[in-house]
């Protein structure tokens, strides 16, 4: 019995350690994909709940990170598919825009932020995974469930869309 208790304590300890190490990065990734801090925290919490169910299968740190990353990307996409939630999100974004900001840097940042969040979910995910997480195309393809060539296309189209936003073009 003592051995079982020790094992459970060890599992909890690993879980806590994983949470401490991975949660902040996971929240940042979720925030880039959603633009919403509260939503990002919800997604990360959900990702960890799913992660707990697979704790026995994910021993290595790389596997854990990959699993969390993939789960967060999928959760963010699925979350956006719930139309009512997305409606409120878009309206919230619209309400947050401040077009009268005079600081060019702030204006450019806001324009870029709006442009990024306005991209289709897969293009946004591809750009964030490519340029924020610095993942190779093959790994992004694995996360998005597509071919590497499709990743290149998504990144290309995402960048192309960003270039069409006047405030973003310098």
């Amino acid at each position: 019995m003592r051995g079982v208790a020790r094992t459970e304590e060890s599992e909890r300890s690993k879980l806590a350690e994983t949470y401490v190490r991975s949660a902040p990065g996971a929240i940042r990734l979720a925030y880039l994909l959603t633009g919403d801090r509260a939503l990002a925290e919800d997604l990360v919490q959900e990702a960890f709940v799913r992660f707990v169910a697979r704790l026995h299968y994910l021993r290595e740190r790389q596997a854990v990170d990959a699993y969390l990353r993939r789960t967060i990307v999928n959760l963010s996409k699925n979350y956006f598919r719930r139309r009512a939630v997305e409606r409120s999100f878009l309206e919230r974004q619209a309400g947050q825009r401040q077009p009268e900001l005079l600081d060019p840097d702030v204006t450019a940042h806001e324009a870029m932020r709006g442009a990024l969040l306005g991209l289709p979910a897969r293009q946004r995910a591809a750009i964030v995974l490519r340029y924020y997480e610095d993942l190779p195309e093959a790994e992004i393809a694995n996360i998005l469930g597509c071919r590497p060539a499709t990743v290149r296309s998504l990144v290309f189209r995402g960048l192309q869309s960003l270039r069409q936003i006047p405030e973003v073009t310098r």
């Binding site: 401490v20 949660a23 940042r28 709940v49 139309r83 009512a84 309206e91 619209a94």
Partner: protein, 365 residues
């Protein structure tokens, strides 16, 4: 800015907005670890309770319609009489519900504190204002009272009957999607239409000016991507006000193939001849405004070079349409010409008071 280096820099700056910093893989001190065990355990316990509560809640929702007793509910302070804003455009700005005279935008007035309410529709005589806050609908009355109409699930949109006595609204919970009608004074809602066995969203009901029909946007699952996301096909549909005679007016296309495949904010023109709506396409330009005849013919895009336009609302005579782009309120002629910026900042939804300034819009019997 689209140089990869700039993109990287921007993404890291934006990620900083999340307010957390990445943790380096350093050993965790014992006390912190113990605290976090409790934190995680607490989180998991909370999630468990929420899941259990959610299951019970879903069971309750499936068996009990989202009825709301006709209680007075919270009230706002009595404010400006609604008669003063006939023909004006209502919007939320800051903590107030505001109204602006579209012919003299310098004339604006507060209708009182919003309490988080976004105005979405007026009754035809301008005596009641329908608004949404936190996924529920509320009715504001001219005397400043406010009544909650819906509870539970998610309600995104509603529309008054021509006499202002009833409200049609959408309601969703999980994969349950329904249209209801309810007395605008509150009470027990009556089911108008349910998705039933169809995997479909029923959203954005718009009551016809003659009161005989309710139009809506239906999103039906037509497939799934290879990575498990649902793909929807949208239609502009209509049902008789008694819930019979559902029929499709126009196929708006698949969301992954059609610029109109993500329609929202459906509003019927005052003369009943046309609809206006916006669509946030994932394949075409960003959110645009469209009009289509009431029989589903002659779909036209109104906005040109006006990305992110949404929240259409008709003027009392149907000659102009107000809309929001970013945080700016615009009006334009109903054919898409003569676009005029009006004011900012405007939050979320808007509602153009349907009573002309001469007061020639009478209630229907």
């Amino acid at each position: 800015m689209t140089d990869p280096t700039d993109i990287r820099e921007f993404l890291h700056r934006m990620a900083d907005e999340a307010g957390v910093v990445p943790v380096d893989p350093v050993p965790v001190v014992r006390n912190a670890r113990r605290r976090l065990v409790f934190t995680v355990a607490g989180t998991l316990l909370t999630v468990g309770v929420l899941v259990a509560g959610g299951v019970l809640g879903v069971n309750r929702l499936t068996s009990i319609p989202p009825a709301v007793p006709a209680s007075p509910g919270p009230t706002t302070e009595p404010s400006v009489p609604f008669a003063q804003v006939h023909g004006w455009i209502t919007y939320r700005s800051g903590s107030d519900i505001m109204a602006v005279d579209p012919t003299h935008p310098e004339n604006g007035i507060s209708l009182g504190p919003s309490h988080g309410l976004d105005p979405i529709a007026w009754s035809r005589n301008g005596s009641r204002l329908l608004g949404r806050a936190k996924k529920n609908l509320y009715v504001l009355n001219a005397d400043g009272s406010r009544r909650q109409l819906t509870r539970g699930g998610i309600t995104a949109w509603g529309s008054f009957s021509p006499d202002g006595e009833m409200v049609a609204y959408d309601w969703a919970s999980g994969d349950l999607h329904r249209l209801y009608v309810i007395d605008s004074a509150g009470g027990t809602p009556k089911l108008l239409l349910a998705s039933g066995d169809r995997m479909a969203f029923l959203t954005f009901p718009a009551w016809s000016p003659d009161g005989s029909q309710i139009a809506f946007i239906e999103s039906t699952v037509v497939g799934e991507t290879s990575w498990g996301e649902r793909i929807y096909r949208l239609t502009l549909s209509v049902v008789n006000a008694d819930g019979t005679g559902e029929r499709v007016l126009r196929d708006l296309g698949r969301e992954d193939r059609s610029p109109t495949g993500w329609a929202k904010g459906l509003v019927w023109s005052p003369d009943g001849s046309r609809f206006a709506f916006s669509s946030q396409s994932i394949v075409g330009p960003a959110s645009q405004l469209y009009v289509v005849n009431a029989d589903g013919s002659e779909l036209r895009r109104l906005t040109k070079r006006m990305n992110y336009a949404s929240n259409a609302s008709w003027s009392p005579d149907g000659s102009r349409i107000a809309f929001v782009r970013g945080s700016t309120l615009f009006t334009m002629a109903a054919d898409g010409s003569d676009v005029r910026p009006m004011l900012r900042p405007v939050k979320k939804a808007i509602a153009w008071n349907p009573v002309s300034e001469e007061g020639n819009q009478e209630e229907q019997p």
